[in-house]
Amino acid sequence: MRHLITPLDFTTDELEKLFDLANDIENNKSKYSKICEGKILATCFYEPSTRTRLSFESAMLQLGGQVLGFSDAGSSSASKGESVSDTIRMISAYTDICAMRHPKEGSAMVASTAASIPVINAGDGGHQHPTQTLTDLLTIRSLKKRLNNFTIGLCGDLKFGRTVHSLINALVRYPDVKFVFISPEELRIPDYIIEMLKEKDIPFEEVIRLEDVMPKLDLLYMTRVQRERFFNEQDYVRLKDFYILDKAKMKLAKEDMLVLHPLPRVNEISIEVDSDPRAAYFRQVKYGVYVRMALILTLLELA
């Protein structure tokens, strides 16, 4: 039995198979519409997330399966003090596979050690968000036709942004990927990631101004500054609008650059950018469903 706790749980070869399956689902939906009949997905969300939860639920429903779960800790036994381990043991008796989001880092790993069904980490605090990473990789692979040889700019909250951490961990396994980290001083990329890049001799740079690096980027990954990651409201207010991607900045970019965003966005991408053909963030949402469908099939060993 396998789980998905970090993006590194799958080898690049396994990811290739997963992405091929996702693309096949995209092109042949009816072929997969009943494949999960009789199977149940549990969505255990200890913190609010409309997007990821609905993406998982949509994925399972499109595969012909069923879904149950909870969408905040208050409506689960966690509010009574039940541990993650006990909850997942109970969920294992009710369902065939579980997607879990929890505010604490390492929670999905704890769940996987106690579970008797596959566990998918749907986000554990500021730590990892592997299915978003799979979404990002599938989007890049589908739209750029490659997962190597590009310069990617990651912009915004690089300190608490788990999507960013997961994506970097996944991309370092592909050749000729350069990283440009664009963030205010307070939200810089964590030191353990910098150490890892140095050890692997992977080129990267850290800058504060987005405009300075726009022309060299093949991909721009924008992120939201998340209020829930701050202990201090004043810090959040000061940093939330630090970056705003608008038409003027897009003029500096390559013609085939792609803008990605894990969504939801707040102010960091002006709505005037939505009509730009380089804006790929809504296409990214569709790939998120396809890759979760492929993941469910793979972990249930139905593919």
Partner: protein, 145 residues
Amino acid sequence: MLNVGKIEEGFVLDHIPAGKSLAIYHHLQLDKLDCTVAIIKNARSNKMGKKDLLKVECDINLIDMDVIAVIDHNITVNVIKNGEIVSKKELILPKEIKNIFKCKNPRCITSIEQELPHIFVLSDGKKEVYRCKYCEEKFDTRSFF
């Protein structure tokens, strides 16, 4: 010069950086053992200038050597029998340390789930870096002192 008598059975931790002996005493949980312990601070040392020593009169197998290795693997561990040094224990950084230190990351799952073991994994042997098994937060061994 202060003289502390030799021990018959037990072990001596030598070359402890000056001022660190009390912290090691607590981390080894020597206060919970019913045995004689001598803490010597700021002893003269040719090698280090000043050093601390711990003389402990108890079976060395009661002590978790991993703790000493993590704190400072340059500490010398002399095993004493019949009043003589019979061997020196080599300190090797353990690949994993369990329930000795606690993860201080307030966002870690261990901060709310009391029954979970606190586990740190050696992520970089050269730099002696440990990370929490759950949240991957770096653990600074110097933070004890």
